[in-house]
Each structure stands twice: as structure tokens, then as C-alpha cells.
Amino acid sequence: MTVPDTAPEVAGLAPELAGAKEGQGSKPLASASERFTAYDVEAFEVPGGREENWRFTPLRRLRGLHDGAAFDGTAQIAVSSGEGVTVETVGRDDARIGEGGVPADRVAAAAWSTFREATVVTLDGTPAPVTITVTGPGHGATAAAHLQLRTTPHAEATVVVEQRGSGALADNLEVVLADGSRLNLVVTEEWADDAVHAGAQHLSIGRDAVLRATSASLGGDLVRITQTVKYRGPGGDAELAGLGFADAGQHLEQRLLVDHAVPDCTSNVIYKNALQGVAGTPDARTVWIGDVLIRAAAENTRTFELNRNLVLTAHARADSVPNLEIETGEIAGAGHASATGRFDDEQLFYLQSRGIPEDVARRLVVRGFFGEILARITVPELRARLEDAIEAELAVTGS
């Protein structure tokens, strides 16, 4: 494929390589398979905001995580103990660090280059659900963190990562699933209003391993999460679900790459966002980028990805970029769907015409919209808490 020298962007996939930036470069990359990765922050150019993978992110609100943050604070990571759960604090020289993946953007690399110690949580057998709490460094501070979750072969575990607090955090979360293991992972972004979180999740699926990941993005000023799924052997199965509720001025960004490079693996992605803006304040914003790559070797792959955005009010903007690259014809199934719709006045009229007050009708519709995501959260208290949090978000503007 010939790419003209002047092409500023390639839909969805071109990374911030030296030279890929508009006006500087010769050739942007044409495929997710060519995505540049490195542990060293200096291997990446400082993004200017026009690169494909930064063009949606308000860099001015990143608190310098991409360029010159002091990383003077510390994010506390606390892990609930239990049988079959081993918690270690290790240095970057630990051989296991990096097994999950390699940073693919400058912020993730900055976090990798900066963290002082990593928390490694190993799940063995069938432990009771584990709760990991990540607390931001505090108002005005910046921090880098590193967390690795790993399973032993045939382990079955549930882990909830709850993230809250103030300040700015750049981090890497490695998930390394051993062969035949199964992990239910729930990650919540329940930050304070000032918080900024730029997180990179590296999800590495072993042979016949199963990942059921659900994320809930509710709080924070700016939350940008990148998820990369890789399969180390055939039979891997990854399901990534997520919900986001963006209110006035909030920027929630989810970018994922599912890299099918081995045969007989499955991926299923379903993300839903609701947006609710307010006149006179910056827009409520969501960004969803879903890249699925099926390489030539990945025969008999089955994949589907879906993004739905529900725009409840004016002063809101949702971007959705699904992208499917297929390099082999021998696949079991592949598809994607994306739709962004306004809250439907006809639905509201119908519900109200049966006596249901407007606020109750809106709650019914939003609860219904998120229902299939929330149903995946198997920890009842957590599901109830997130349902309450969504209703509280809805109540903010009294709608």
C-alpha cells in the first residue's frame, strides 16, 4: 500500500512514531500491526495533539503526564489478602515485569520509566474475590504506578480494582493469564472531580485462558485508558465490557487494540457510554477507539466489537471509531457495530403516557441502556454501588 507523504492521519491506527506526526514526517503507519512499542519514554516523541492516537485527548488537561510531569507523588495500592493470593512489591528488575506487554504511547512509557516499585498479585487456585484499591497521589500531585495481576495455570479468580482519589496518575496494569486460567476483572474509575488518569492495560491471555473484564468510568476530569489484548496460545477468550458516564466537562477516553496473532481465539468487546452536558460549561466527552487486528496466522478467530453512546442532553460529544483489520480469510466470524443516539423523545413520551414521571422514565432508559454491562459484574455489592453512582450522576442536572 502506498501512502502519500502528505497524509496526516490514518484512520484509527497510526501511532506517534518519530516522523509520523503531521508536518514532520514522511510516512504514517498504515496498520495496527506496525504499532511502535518501547519501555523507554524517550523513544517516543512528545505528542503535540495532532497524532492519531492523541488527537482526541485534551493534552493541556493531562497535567504534564505526557511531557515533564514531576511524578512527585505516590499512588497507594492496597490489596485485600486471602488464601491463594500472593502480594509482592518488586523492583523493575523482576523478570516477570513486562510479561504482559510493552508501552505503546509516551505516557505509558513515562509511567514505566518512572515507577519505583511494582505490585505483583498472584492468584492461585480459586481464591475469594480480591479487592485492590488504588488511591491517587492527592490534589496537585502526579504519580506513576505499576500493577501486575497474574494467575497460575487453571486458577479461577475475581479481582476488583477500585480507583479513587485526587491528582494525576499514569500507570501500567499488566494482566498475565496462565494457561487454562480464568479471571473476572472489574476496574472502576471512581476518581474525584480533579483527577487525571492515563492508564495502559496490557492483557495477555494464555492458552485456553478466559478473561472477563468490565470497566466502569464514572469519575475524574480526564480518564484515558488504553487496553491491549494479546494471545499467547490458541483457545484464548477475552471479553472486554465497559460503561462510562460523562458529565459536563468530563473527558472519558477508551482505546483498545485486540491483537489476534494466534489461531482459535475469541474476543468480544462491548462498550456503552452515556453523556450529559450542561449549558455554559465544556462539553461532556467520550471517545471510543476499537481496533481489532486479525493477523494472517490467526485462523478461526471469532471477534465482535460494539460501541453504543447515549447522548442525554445537548453540550455533549461522543466519538466512536471501530476498526477491523483482517489479514486472513480463514476466520470464524468478525464484526463491529457502533451507534450514537440521542435520548429519544418518543420513548420519553411513551413512558410518561403510562403515568411514569419524567425523571423516573429517564432513569429506566439509562438503567436499561447500561443493564447488560452491569449484569456482567458478578459482585453484587459492587454492582449495586455502581447502579447508585449512575443514578446519582443522572440526578446532577435533575434530569
Binding site: 429519544d344 423523545d345 418518543e346 420513548q347 413520551f349 411513551y350 413512558l351 410518561q352 403516557s353 403510562r354 403515568g355 411514569i356 414521571p357 419524567e358 423516573v360 422514565a361 429506566l364 432508559v365 438503567r367 436499561g368 441502556f369 447500561f370 443493564g371 447488560e372
Partner: protein
Amino acid sequence: MSTLEITGLHVSVAADGGAKEILKGVDLTVRSGETHAIMGPNGSGKSTLAYAIAGHPKYEITAGNVTLDGQDILAMTVDERARAGLFLAMQYPVEVPGVSMANFLRSAATAVRGEAPKLRTWVKEVKGAMSDLDIDPDFAERSVNEGFSGGEKKRHEVLQLSLLKPKFAVLDETDSGLDVDALRVVSEGVNRFRADGDVGVLLITHYTRILQHIRPDVVHVFAGGKVVSTGGAELADELERNGYARFTTGAPAEAGV
């Protein structure tokens, strides 16, 4: 004993080139225990009357009154009208993805009755009402109207009617798109509603066949945005024989919903 009174009702909708008047002075009084059929050609404004009474935001009331036992319906929000005792069975019921029929019915019953129905009796009540209308119990778990056939949607409108027990029901072309069996089931549902309580029915239809199942006390012929003739059930028989031609000459048809 309740009275739904419509006087001098004028209704407009926004259209290219400004507001377009659809209803041009409707006068109509329905008392509980009565069934009134409103018949008229397409575009005569029948559905506009139904939606205007229910409070659809698309329709602007430019003159006239609608009262329920003296209360000003037009001053109420859509949900207040329903709680005051009005019900509109829609010609095209709206799909609400993600909201289960069961959840919707319970929310509506809670709103209309002023308190949540007791769970045990409620489940029994819903099952009974569904069975009366030949509705498969599985529908309770499906999203409201989503993927329902035309006939299934109409059955569910009548299901809501039977559970919410309004004082007045406006049935907007509930018979359209129904096969003979479905028409019978739906009509029986409406007749049960009529028999169960001291209620009034405003039956809007284009065809006379539903009137074989639901006998009206009064028949109004609607043309050009107003009632042009009123009579007993025999008026429907005349329409069956002669059509609307006698009423539409000189009254230009207007676009309705």
C-alpha cells in the same frame, strides 16, 4: 361517574412554512359507561385528537379546552394526564430497548396507583392479564415493544389498559394491522375493560369491522378536523355501505399522523 369534555379544540403542528392547523374546533363529551367511535377518512385529524389529548409535544393547542371531571387536562404534563385517568393506546407503540416489559408495567402501575403493587398479587395479576390476551409469559422479560410484531404491540397496549385501569381510554386505530383472531382477542380485552368498570372509551378507527366486536353507543364522523356528524351505531352501518364521500365533499382532507 366521570366526564371527559372537549370543547372548541384547535390544534396545530409545525410544518414547512409555519404552523398547520389540523383540528378546527372539536366538541365532544364522553361520559363513563359510554363508548364513542370516531370514524373518518385518512388525514381527517383523528390521531391528532388522540395525541393532543395525551399531550404529545408535537401538537400545539391553539384554542379550546379538554377537561376531566372539570380538571384542566391541557395544563397537565403527559404523566399527570395518565395519573389523572387518561390512557392512549397508540397506533404505533414505541420501542424502548433495555427496559423489560415487566419493569415497565410495574413502574407504570406504581405511578398510576400511587404506590408499588404488592409483589405477590402483582405477579398473579400480570400473568392473568397476559393469559387473557394470549400473550406468552416470556414477553415479560423482553424489552418494551422491541421486535414485537404489529399484533403483539397492540395486545400489549390492551394489556397496559387492563392493568392501569384508566377512567377514559382513547384507542387509536387499535384494530389496524390485526388479523381476524388478533382482532377478536384485542376486542375481548377492550370489552373486559368496559365491563369491569365505570369507564369511557373513545375508539378511533378507519374501518367498521372492529365495531362488530366493540359496539359503540355513539358514532361520530370526523372530517376536515372536526366532528361533522353524530349518531348511533346505525351511522357506522351507513358508513359501511356508503363510505365517507358524503362527509368529505367540500371539506379538504388534512394531513394527520
